[in-house]
């Protein structure tokens, strides 16, 4: 390891601009002649749209245009890019989602019209003056009831409000195992609906150059090329070569900025109509009402065990709330990103999972940090913990009894995944140490003496990251390939520009990727610049989500570096008058084996651009691009242990300790990796204890602002003890696995298992997320009654 190569805890280079206020987020961009968009949104969750009267608003000062759904009839509707086949062999029902509503609105906040005016104030004033005639309909809100008879029908194309019913596994075989099992643990619970809440609200600035016919869209996006592709191929807004999409500094994504939303489609289309740049930035209330939400499952889950505590089978029945429409990747989340992880870290023999994806009159639900995997980990780890309590076993021991043994890899699960490698028991042991498990009973006794309840909870999660091998994803319904690109461009003076198709919105790619290039090519770290986010600069790339930037994006960089070395070897051989086979490359130097004849890579680059004495037939230049398609998912896994103390008088829960040991394979920058773990845990703690998107019976989002939706604050969370037990993945050239989602996947079960453990002493059997003080207090009262 060099000082700034792979494995070094380099403080991030991007920090300087952020700590000095010099970042460039989308809302910081202003263009000459810029106008502003304000969307008229439905205040009703379910209504017919009988008419939109824009006459008065259109006459207000500064208003340039007002558009309604019918005006955009030529623009294709928003799409869902992952097709699912129903249990009956039918395609899923994906009703059209026009960017501006036509004829009907299906959730409160859905865009009905857009006003474009010279100032934001003028746009807002005019939007308030647009008169919409709604015909109110009853709303479908509760996903568990959505398909029941007598519910209002949301989409004609989706009878019974069902998008699809999907299943994985052999039901008859699993049922048979359950029939003969020594013990069955059953749980029913919800996985609470969350609002992603990246701190930077969604925003875009759309421009159109009438001279060149080129559209430029600056947007807070995690994947500018995916935006470009969909807006071109499906919305028909412009051919790809006439549409430039730039995602500049982006203030967090967590999934919510993957998707193609109505606003960017409308702005891109409208900018060529009004012939002015148009800006839109969501107000936080709009973010709550329109950003795709996360989770929202209702689940019944069962685990069958034999008398030795071996997991024999698992049966899971889930209703997943899709909201009013299928968002961009919504259908993949409760299916291939969920049921395929239900084996967890265990050798469970058979698994059957049935999923009903239903429509409700709520904001669309899609991937949010972890996406399906937190839901799966919650199912598995709550079941295991409950089974341990029911059968009187130590929860750590029960897990160890069932872990996939270290020598069993590659390991084929019953739910179509092949785990590449891991050391589940090793991570557990390390976590037990870090958590001070041996001292828990003493701490519990001490709490008890003070009138408090103490509990400990485990979460031995696994996730599938490094999204994704294209052919496998395609066979499961993905509409895109999920490879990644990298272009390493040497300049004649020896410094390097790395162009990547991944996108950093907090992950520190500018630093970590420069470390990879410095490490592989021996170029000084300072001389490597990382460029991302601009479709007119970078090669086509798939962006950042699913913890893919290291395993897929990083691997593409290594492949491009290999090509650079290969070409450099030819140049060096020629210059040094040696055979290519005799040239060795290490530490930035090409050396003739067994001699001191050498030239460094900067000299090679110069020679490539000034090829006066150069191998015959070799192209000039040192500029190599690689596209890397992963061989498999990667499987980060680990054990998180949470210790809580509950005040039975108030129901308040405080996290006293939180220990995490994760296997992410090789770490490129441990400082950044730790930060990713912390952030993920923070969001997972939020889900477990604080956050809940609540709709009332009329489909109004009750927790629609920071006054009502409880975001984790600094004094709600503890400091975290983080450790690593890396087993390098054999499946990619860096040996990395991905670290971005682990915390959010592991933490909800760890926290909730600890809360259940604490409350078991006072007879509380079940409590739902978020375990707010009111809920905890109520559960304690009910148990005592």
């Amino acid at each position: 390891m060099t000082e700034q190569g792979i494995g070094a805890a380099v403080a991030r280079r991007e920090d300087r601009r952020f700590v000095t206020g010099q970042g460039h987020y989308t809302d910081d961009i202003n263009r000459r002649g810029q106008t502003y968009a304000c969307f008229v949104r439905s205040p009703h969750a379910h209504a017919t749209l009988n008419g939109v009267d824009t006459a008065a608003a259109g006459a207000m000062p500064g208003v340039r245009a007002i558009f309604v759904g019918e005006d955009m009839a030529e623009v294709g509707p928003l799409i869902c890019g992952w097709a699912i086949t129903d249990v009956n062999g039918e395609p899923f029902r994906a009703p059209p989602h026009p960017a501006l509503a036509i004829g009907k609105v299906n959730y409160a906040g859905e865009a009905v019209a857009v006003v474009i005016a010279d100032t934001l104030e003028q746009a807002k004033d005019a939007a308030a003056a647009v008169e919409v005639d709604y015909g109110l309909l009853d709303a479908v809100v509760d996903p568990a009831q959505a398909t029941a008879g007598g519910q209002p029908q949301i989409h004609e194309a989706a009878p019974g409000n069902l998008s699809f019913e999907w299943a994985l596994g052999d039901k008859a075989a699993v049922d048979a195992v359950f029939d003969g099992a020594a013990h069955v643990t059953s749980l029913e619970f919800a996985n609470n609906r969350l609002v992603p809440n990246a701190m930077e609200p969604r925003a875009c600035v759309a421009e159109y150059d009438a001279g060149s016919g080129e559209h430029t869209l600056h947007i807070a996006s995690q994947n500018p090329h995916v935006h470009r592709l969909v807006m071109s191929a499906f919305h028909g807004l412009a051919p790809e070569h006439k549409l430039r999409v730039v995602a500049p500094d982006v203030g967090g994504g967590f999934g919510s900025k993957i998707f193609i939303y109505a606003e960017e489609v409308v702005l891109t289309w409208a900018a060529s109509r009004v012939r002015r740049p148009i800006k839109w930035t969501a107000e936080r209330s709009e973010s709550f009402l329109t950003d795709a939400h996360g989770r929202d499952h209702v689940t019944t889950a069962e685990l069958a065990l034999d008398s030795d505590g071996k997991f024999l089978a698992m049966r899971v029945d889930t209703t997943a709330n899709m909201g009013a429409y299928l968002s961009t990747f919504a259908s993949a989340v409760p299916t291939y990103l969920y049921a395929t992880l239900l084996a967890g870290q265990y050798t469970t023999g058979g698994i059957y999972c049935n999923v009903k994806a239903v429509f409700t009159n709520t904001v669309p639900v899609d991937a949010y940090r972890g996406a399906g995997r937190p839901e799966a980990a919650y199912v598995v780890e709550r079941l295991v913990e409950a089974a341990a309590a029911e059968t009187g076993r130590d929860p750590a021991d029960l897990r160890k009894t069932n872990f996939v043994p270290t020598d069993a890899f590659p390991y084929e699960t019953p739910v179509i995944m092949q785990y590449d490698c891991g050391d589940f028991a090793g991570s557990m042991d390390q976590a037990l140490d870090l958590a001070g498990y041996g001292g828990f009973q003493a701490r519990k006794a001490e709490s008890k003496a003070g009138g408090r309840l103490r509990g400990i909870g485990f979460s031995s999660y696994i996730e599938a990251c490094g999204v994704a091998p294209s052919a496998a994803a395609g066979s499961l319904g993905a509409g895109v390939g999920l490879w990644e690109s990298a272009n390493i461009r040497f300049n004649p003076t020896g410094n390097v520009q790395l162009f990547t198709g991944c996108h950093s919105h907090g992950q520190g790619h500018e630093t970590a990727y420069a470390q990879i290039v410095a490490d592989k090519l021996g170029v000084p770290y300072e001389q490597v610049e990382v460029i991302h986010g601009d479709s007119s600069k970078i090669p086509f790339g798939m962006g950042t989500y699913g913890s893919r930037s290291a395993a897929v994006g990083g691997s593409a960089i290594v492949k491009a570096a290999d090509k650079v070395i290969e070409k450099g070897r030819k140049i060096a051989a020629h210059t040094l008058e040696a055979s290519e086979d005799d040239i060795e490359f290490a530490g930035g130097n090409f050396t003739v084996k067994g001699t001191d004849k050498a030239m460094n890579i900067a000299e090679v680059a110069f020679t490539a651009y000034v090829p006066h004495n150069y191998p015959e037939g070799l192209e000039p230049g040192l500029d190599e691009t690689a596209f890397y398609d992963p061989l498999n998912f990667s499987f980060p896994a680990g054990t998180h242990i949470c210790e809580v103390e509950v005040d039975p008088e108030t129901g308040s829960v405080s996290i006293e300790r939180y220990a995490a040991v994760d296997d992410f394979g090789v770490l490129i920058n441990p400082l950044i990796v730790e930060g990713q773990v912390h952030g993920g845990i923070g969001q997972g703690v939020g889900q477990a204890m604080l956050e809940h998107a609540v709709y009332d019976g009329a489909g109004q989002l009750v927790s629609g602002s920071y006054m009502d939706y409880t975001m984790p604050r600094a004094d709600d969370v503890p400091s975290y003890d983080v450790g690593f037990n890396g087993v390098p993945s054999p499946l990619n050239p860096l040996g990395v696995k991905g670290c971005g989602e682990a915390g959010a996947i592991a933490a909800p079960a760890a926290v909730m298992n600890a809360v259940h453990d604490a409350l078991r002493d006072v007879g509380v059997g079940h409590i739902e997320m978020p375990a707010t003080p009111l809920r905890v207090w109520q559960a304690i009262q009910d148990a005592a009654a």
Binding site: T20, G21, M199, T281, G682, A714
Partner: protein, 156 residues
């Protein structure tokens, strides 16, 4: 109708004609081009917009620009000494106290006010002081660590 507002920002006298409903944060961002101060919410909860007004941390979305008439305002752009980062900025950098950076200006402005009043804050005091600053990326761990380190560096 517009009104003229004059104030000092980062040591420079500035003035602008703004609508009476213009918030201080809008004036800073839109009129003065100081886009380091961010807007993360519409209910004065997130703290992305924290600046110093007459030496105290204030959410710039809670103040109308006209209310800042004559005030001495400092934004994140005014914290470093030329190319030399302020010790608090340096501490955020060294301790990985930021990821996407969106909350960071508000965090740093808020932290500076804390340390001014309490040069040696405990972890609990730091966490409680940050009640009004939301971060979605870091889980707060490294922000708390950064502020602790920054405070130490400022004590010298």
């Amino acid at each position: 109708m517009t009104v003229s507002v004059s104030l000092t920002v980062n040591g420079e006298a500035v003035s602008a004609d703004v609508e009476p409903r213009t918030l201080l944060v809008q004036m800073l961002r839109e009129e003065l081009g100081l886009t380091g101060t961010h807007v993360g919410c519409d209910t004065s909860q997130c703290g992305a917009c924290v600046v110093h007004v007459d030496g105290e941390s204030v959410k710039a979305c809670t103040l109308l620009a006209v209310q800042a008439e004559g005030a001495d305002v400092k934004t994140i752009e005014g914290v470093a000494d030329g190319d030399t980062l302020h010790p608090m900025q340096q501490a955020f950098h060294e301790n990985h106290g930021l990821q996407c950076g969106f909350c960071t200006p508000g965090m740093i402005m808020s932290a500076l006010d804390l340390v001014k009043n309490n040069p040696d804050p405990s972890e609990r005091e730091i966490r409680e002081w940050l009640e009004g600053n939301l971060c979605r990326c870091t889980g707060y761990h490294n922000i708390v660590k950064s502020i602790d380190a920054g405070a130490r560096a400022m004590r010298g």
